[in-house]
C-alpha cells in the first residue's frame, strides 16, 4: 500500500522551527510594527482626534467607547436635547495637525451648546450607511436624540462589512425591536444570526467546554511570550504591508478612479432610506449633506456615477421632507493636504477626504448655519 509519507532530515525541521521563532522575535521586537489597520489607511499626515469638551468626551467611535460619551452626557445633570452627528474619518482626522487644532465635531458642539443643544459625534473610518443605521438605532436607547446630521460619502457606499464593534448591537433587544421590520434590519439580523448559528458553515460561536480552557492558555502564553500577545497587531502589520505592495504593483493611488459597486451601493442606499424612516418614527429632524471633497483636481470617482449618486441622495432626502445640502465645495484647495504614500514609493499623495483645521472650521460653520435654519 502506498502511503503519503514524508521522511526528511529531522535536523532541518528542528532548525526550521527554531529559525521561524527566532525571526519572529527578531522582526517584531520593536513596537513600530504594531499597526491599527483603520488608522494606518489615514497615513502619518493625518491626526486622529476624538474630542473632549470641559473634560467630557463628546466624540466617540462605536460601542467600545460609548460609555465615555454617555458618562460625559449624564454628568451635565440637565437632559439637553442631543444632536447626533454620524460620519467617517473626515470627522476625526485633521490633516497637517498643529497643537491646539480642533475638529469640526468640537467646534459645532461649542456653537450649539450656547443654544442648549448637546452635540455628540460618532465616526469610524470608512463607515457605511448600514453601520450608521445600526449605531443610530442603538444610540436612541441612550440619548434623547432630536436631530441627526448625516454626511453621505460616495466612497463609503463601496463598503459593506459591518465591523464587530458595531455589529454587536444586534444582541440588544431594543435594537432588534427598532430595526426588525426594515429591509436593512432584516438583512443584518439574518446575516448576524447565520454567522452565529451552530450550523453555520464556518464560524464557531458555540459555547464549547473547551473555550474557557483555551482562553486560560492564551492568557498564560500572553504573559509568558511578548510576541504572542502582540500577534493581532502583527497581523495588522502584515496586512498593511500587503496593502502597500498591492498598491505598488497595480499602481493604485488615492487618485485612482473608484467605480461604484452595484450590490453594495444598493444595500447602502436601502440603509439610507431606513435611517430616514427610523428618524421619522422617532420624530428626529434630519439633515443630510454631501461632504466636502477636494475638487481642484479630478476627483477619484467615476463622474457619471458620482453625479447620479448626488441626485439620488437629494431626491430621497427631499422625498422624506428632510433637509439636504451639498457641502462639496466649501473647503478651498489651500485647506486640504497630502498624505504619506499608500504604496511602497516614498512620494506624497493627494488626500481627497481629510482637510486641515481651517477646513474643519468651515465645515462646522456651514453646518451651524444650516442647523440654525432648521431650528427656525
Amino acid at each position: 500500500m502506498k502511503y503519503f509519507y514524508f521522511n526528511r532530515n529531522w535536523l532541518s525541521t528542528l532548525i526550521g522551527i527554531f529559525l521561524g521563532i527566532f525571526l519572529l522575535n527578531y522582526f517584531f521586537s520593536d513596537n513600530k510594527k504594531e499597526i491599527r489597520l483603520d488608522e494606518f489607511a489615514l497615513g502619518k499626515d493625518n491626526k486622529t482626534l476624538l474630542a473632549d469638551f470641559e473634560g467630557k468626551r463628546i466624540h466617540c467611535s462605536d460601542t467600545t467607547d460609548l460609555n465615555l460619551c454617555l458618562k460625559g452626557y449624564k454628568s451635565s445633570n440637565i437632559e439637553l436635547p442631543v444632536t447626533l452627528w454620524l460620519g467617517n474619518s473626515q470627522l476625526h482626522a485633521i490633516n497637517q495637525y498643529y497643537e491646539g487644532d480642533q475638529t469640526a465635531a468640537l467646534l459645532l458642539h461649542k456653537d450649539l451648546k450656547k443654544f442648549d443643544i448637546y452635540t455628540l459625534t460618532f465616526s469610524q473610518a470608512n463607515a457605511n450607511l448600514q453601520e450608521h443605521y445600526l449605531l443610530l438605532s442603538y444610540l436612541l436607547e441612550y440619548f434623547p436624540i432630536k436631530t441627526l446630521i448625516l454626511p453621505v460619502v460616495f466612497d463609503d457606499l463601496r463598503e459593506d462589512n459591518i465591523r464587530h464593534t458595531i455589529e454587536n448591537v444586534l444582541t440588544n433587544q431594543f435594537v432588534i425591536n427598532k430595526i426588525s421590520k426594515s429591509y436593512t434590519g432584516k438583512n443584518l439580523i439574518s446575516k448576524f444570526n447565520n454567522k452565529n448559528s451552530t450550523t453555520s458553515v464556518t464560524n464557531r460561536k458555540e459555547d464549547l467546554s473547551e473555550d474557557d480552557f483555551e482562553n486560560l492558555l492564551d492568557e498564560k502564553l500572553n504573559k509568558f511570550w511578548l510576541i504572542w500577545s502582540k500577534r493581532e497587531k502583527l497581523r495588522g502589520y502584515l496586512f498593511a504591508k500587503l496593502y502597500l505592495f498591492r498598491n505598488y504593483v497595480f499602481g493604485i493611488t488615492p487618485s485612482t478612479t473608484r467605480k461604484m459597486i452595484p450590490g453594495r451601493y444598493e444595500k447602502n442606499i436601502n440603509a439610507f432610506k431606513d435611517i430616514l424612516k427610523l428618524s421619522l418614527e422617532n420624530k428626529l429632524e434630519v439633515f443630510t449633506y454631501i461632504p466636502p471633497i477636494r475638487n481642484d483636481i479630478k476627483i477619484p470617482y467615476d463622474l457619471e456615477d458620482y453625479k447620479n449618486f448626488k441626485i439620488e441622495i437629494e431626491n430621497i432626502t427631499k422625498k422624506n421632507n428632510y433637509r439636504f445640502i451639498s457641502l462639496e465645495n466649501i473647503v478651498p484647495p489651500e485647506f486640504w493636504g497630502e498624505k504619506t504614500s499608500t504604496n511602497l514609493k516614498k512620494e506624497k499623495e493627494v488626500d481627497f477626504m481629510h482637510f486641515q483645521s481651517n477646513g474643519h472650521r468651515l465645515l462646522a460653520k456651514s453646518l451651524f448655519l444650516e442647523l440654525t435654519k432648521l431650528q427656525k
Partner: protein, 481 residues
C-alpha cells in the same frame, strides 16, 4: 477539541509522551480514554451515543460469524438500523419533518411547522460510516471480527480521525495497533511537519479566505455579476480544499506521531484532467467508501476494499444511471441535510455521465492535449459545483448558476477588487506549487545541501506565519458534516 487550538496541542503533547512511555496494553487504554476526552471536550453528553455505536458493532460482529445466513443478515440489519437510525435522528429528522410539512402544505394539507431542537453530534457521519464498513466487511468475510473490545473501540474512536476522517477500514488500522511500533524520532518529526503544514493551510490560508467568501456569499445573487459568481466558486473551492486537507494533514500527522499511518486524503484535486481523475484526488477516503459500499455493490461489481483510489473505478464502471445518481445523491446528502447538498451530488452525477459519453470519443487525441484541455475544462466545472455547497439557499444557488449564462452580467463587477486579486493569486500559486513539487523538487532532492537549505527556509516560513495567525476563530468546515 479543535485541532487549531492550544488545548489540542497540549493534549497531543501529553498523549504522545505517555504513549511512548507506556507498555502496549496501557497504550490502547490511553488511546481509548484520550479519544473520549478529546470528544468530550466538545460536548460530554454525546459520548454515550458514540459508545452505543461502538458496542453494537463490536457485539454484532462477534455474533455474525457464528450464525446461519438468515440470522447473519438479521444481525447486519440490526447494526445498520442502529447506526443509520442514530444518524437519521440527529442529522435528517428536522430536514425530513420540514420537507414533509412543506409537501403537505403544497397539496393543501395545512400543517403547522414543528419545532425540533436537535444538536448534531460532532463527527457522527464519519464514525457511522466507519463502523458500518467494519460490520459489512465482517459480514462479507473480508475480515475477522476483533475480539478485544478496547482494540476495536480504539479503531472507531481514535481521536485524530474521529470527527472528520479520514474514514478508514478496520483492516488498515487494527493491524497497526497490534503491531506495537517501536519509538522513532522520524515519527515525531514527520508528524510535526504534517501538523505544521496543516495548520498553515487552515489558519493562514483557509481562515483568511473565509472572510472574503462569507462576504461574497452573503450578497444576494441579483447583486453579483457573472465574474463574481466564478470568483466565489473558485474562492470557496480553495477555502474548502485548504480547510479540509488541513484537517486531514493534522489528523495524519497526529496519528503518525504514534507510529500509525493513515493514507492520504487529498492529492492536488484541482489539477485533475477529468472527473474520474478528480474523484481519485478529492476526499479519497469518503469516495472510496461510497465506491465499495454503495456504487460497486449496486452494480454487482467486485469491490476493491481499501480506502484509496477514490471513485475512479466507479466512474469507469458503467453501471446504470439510476445507481450513479442514487450514489452521488447519497454522497451529497451525507454532507448535510439540505437540498443544496443533494443538488451538489446530482451535479456531479451529471458531470460523470457527460464524461462517460465524451471520453471514448477522445481516445485518439494526443495525451498532452487531453491532459491540458482536460484540466482547463475540469477545473471550472468542478469549481462550479461548490456554488450549491456554500450558497445560503437552493434558490440562491440556482440564481448564481444562472448568472454565468447571462452575457450582460460579464460587463460589471460586484465585489471589492481584492477578492478577484486574491483568487487569481491563489489559483496561480496552486499551479506553481504543483509544478514545483513535480518538476523542481526531484532535482533539489538530489542536491543534499540545497535541499536542506530549502527545507529549513520552508519550515521557518510556515512556522513564522502559523504562530502569527494561530487562532480558533473558525471551526473546520467538515465539522458540520
Amino acid at each position: 477539541m479543535i485541532f487549531n487550538s492550544l488545548t489540542y496541542l497540549i493534549f497531543l503533547f501529553i498523549v504522545i509522551s505517555l504513549y511512548w512511555l507506556l507498555p502496549y496494553r496501557a497504550r490502547l487504554i490511553l488511546i481509548f480514554t484520550s479519544s473520549l476526552i478529546f470528544y468530550g471536550f466538545w460536548k460530554i453528553e454525546f459520548i454515550p451515543i458514540l459508545l452505543i455505536s461502538v458496542i453494537v458493532d463490536w457485539w454484532v460482529a462477534q455474533k455474525i460469524i457464528q450464525k446461519e445466513k438468515n440470522v447473519r443478515f438479521f444481525l447486519l440489519l440490526l447494526s445498520l438500523t442502529t447506526n443509520l437510525g442514530l444518524l437519521f435522528y440527529f442529522k435528517y429528522l428536522i430536514f425530513f419533518a420540514e420537507t414533509s410539512i412543506g409537501f403537505a402544505n403544497i397539496i393543501g394539507l395545512q400543517l403547522d411547522p414543528i419545532i425540533l431542537k436537535i444538536i448534531l453530534p460532532l463527527g457522527i457521519s464519519f464514525y457511522t460510516f466507519q463502523t458500518i464498513s467494519y460490520t459489512v466487511d465482517v459480514y462479507r468475510g473480508f475480515i475477522k471480527p476483533e475480539r478485544n473490545f478496547i482494540l476495536f473501540a480504539c479503531y472507531v474512536t481514535f481521536f485524530p480521525q474521529l470527527v472528520a476522517g479520514p474514514i478508514l477500514r478496520a483492516k488498515e488500522v487494527l493491524p497497526q495497533f497490534l503491531n506495537r511500533p517501536l519509538f522513532s524520532f522520524n515519527f515525531l518529526i514527520s508528524g510535526t511537519r504534517l501538523i505544521l503544514f496543516g495548520l498553515f493551510l487552515k489558519v493562514v490560508l483557509a481562515d483568511n479566505i473565509s472572510l472574503l467568501v462569507d462576504t461574497g456569499f452573503s450578497m444576494q445573487a441579483a447583486y453579483l455579476s457573472a465574474i463574481d459568481v466564478w470568483t466565489l466558486a473558485f474562492l470557496f473551492g480553495f477555502q474548502i480544499y485548504f480547510d479540509f486537507s488541513a484537517y486531514s494533514l493534522i489528523a495524519i500527522g497526529s496519528a503518525r506521531m504514534m507510529g500509525i499511518f493513515f493514507p492520504n486524503n487529498f492529492n492536488f484535486p484541482y489539477i485533475s484532467s477529468s472527473p474520474k481523475d478528480f474523484w481519485q484526488r478529492w476526499h479519497i477516503s469518503l469516495s472510496s467508501w461510497i465506491r465499495d459500499y454503495l456504487y460497486l455493490p449496486l452494480n454487482k461489481v467486485k469491490i476493491i476494499n481499501r480506502s484509496e483510489g477514490g471513485l475512479a473505478k466507479a466512474v469507469k464502471t458503467r453501471g446504470s444511471n439510476k445507481s450513479l445518481f442514487f450514489t452521488m445523491g447519497i454522497m451529497g446528502l451525507w454532507h448535510g441535510a439540505n437540498w443544496t447538498f443533494l443538488i451538489w451530488g446530482i451535479y456531479h452525477a451529471i458531470v460523470i455521465s457527460v464524461y462517460r459519453f465524451i471520453e471514448p470519443k477522445t481516445k485518439n487525441f494526443p495525451n498532452f492535449f487531453k491532459s491540458f484541455a482536460g484540466t482547463l475544462i475540469t477545473l471550472p466545472v468542478m469549481m462550479l459545483s461548490w456554488i450549491p455547497f456554500r450558497a445560503e439557499s437552493l434558490a440562491e444557488a440556482f440564481n448564481m448558476w444562472l448568472k454565468i449564462f447571462d452575457i450582460n452580467s460579464y460587463l460589471w463587477l460586484g465585489m471589492r477588487e481584492n477578492t478577484y486579486l486574491v483568487t487569481f493569486l491563489i489559483l496561480i500559486s496552486f499551479f506553481i506549487i504543483y509544478f514545483f513539487k513535480m518538476k523542481i523538487l526531484p532535482i533539489i532532492n538530489s542536491k543534499k545541501y540545497i535541499f536542506v537549505a530549502c527545507d529549513i527556509a520552508l519550515i521557518s516560513f510556515v512556522t513564522f506565519f502559523v504562530i502569527i495567525f494561530f487562532r480558533t476563530i473558525n471551526q473546520f468546515i467538515y465539522f458540520q458534516f
